[in-house]
Assembly symmetry: C2
Homo-oligomer: 184 residues x 2
């Protein structure tokens, strides 16, 4: 085989391999996610919209779509349904008339906190499947190569928003759980 | 926070993080996959069934379902459609009357080879997004931590079958491309 042919072979094997791996990973994630949100009568995209709105504190529909990896029309239609259920509200900004922003209502924020509190009530195969790695390395895997590929595909600002939302999650986590203690 | 609370926080942040990462990765994979198979009028599960049958050389419906991460009924129904289109045939084995096996017809094998030949005609964002890693490290990333999590979730035999199918792909690749040269 020529060198070029060898590269094509390597590239095609790699590309299909990550495709099949990613399908298996996603199917496990999807199942965990669905079992978690089932009691709240939400689908994955609806929950993702609420999660993003909670952690980004007022995002535009196009931000939500981009960061939640869904079509703008999907983000808009599900946001409308969530608005009807009283979980979020739409708004316009004076400095940006073209975009529609969404923000959680009090009831929407309470739902997110409630779901957080019940996170461990449903099985999480991904978490269980990662515990041996945590035991071995002392911490959970970071999937740096997946993150690098995602950064190259979706752009630096996608990863920046991703990290920002998790930074917020980390910060509010203690507050959420303190609230829980107060509620109890 | 107590130590136990800290672990819960770490676990929940990790688990949702990999969930969101996995969604972004899968959406990119799904788009690439769909663009590749579109000219052949197949959906992802149908193509996956053909791919598995080609590389495992006669698999049972339950093997295909398990390895392709789909419901047995999904695997069965799509296999039926592929049989109607003449791409595969069903059979029973004398030593295993309970399972239904599927095998590619000549037309099914030709389709797989044809699709392989046209792999690079459609865009593959995952591949493009991985090239900077290849340049940096001299080879494509191996996603060993993802593989380890998948092994823990789906079992050793899942990974063993996965590797077997890729070993076959590697071996037949040269044959497929030699055929291509003869055909040209």
């Amino acid at each position: 085989m020529s060198e070029e042919m060898y590269s094509i072979k390597e590239a095609m094997l790699y590309s299909q391999r990550i495709g099949h791996l990613s399908k298996a990973l996603w199917k496990a994630v999807e199942k965990d996610w669905q079992l978690w949100i089932k009691p709240y009568d939400l689908n994955i995209n609806e929950h993702h919209i609420l999660w993003i709105s909670y952690h980004l504190k007022g995002a535009s529909i196009s931000d939500v779509a981009r960061f939640g990896v869904m079509h703008v029309s999907t983000a808009f239609n599900f946001s409308k349904k969530l608005e009807e259920r009283g979980y979020l509200k739409f708004s316009k900004r004076d400095d940006d008339k073209r975009n529609t922003y969404i923000e959680l209502t009090e009831s929407g924020s309470e739902l997110i906190i409630e779901m957080n509190r019940h996170y461990l009530d449903s099985p999480h195969t991904i978490l269980e499947g990662s515990l041996p790695l945590k035991e071995l390395y002392g911490r959970f895997p970071e999937f740096l190569d997946v993150m690098a590929v995602i950064r190259n595909i979706y752009g630096d600002d996608f990863v920046e928003i991703f990290e920002r939302s998790y930074k917020n999650y980390q910060e509010v986590f203690d507050v959420i759980h303190e609230k829980e203690m107060v509620v109890k």
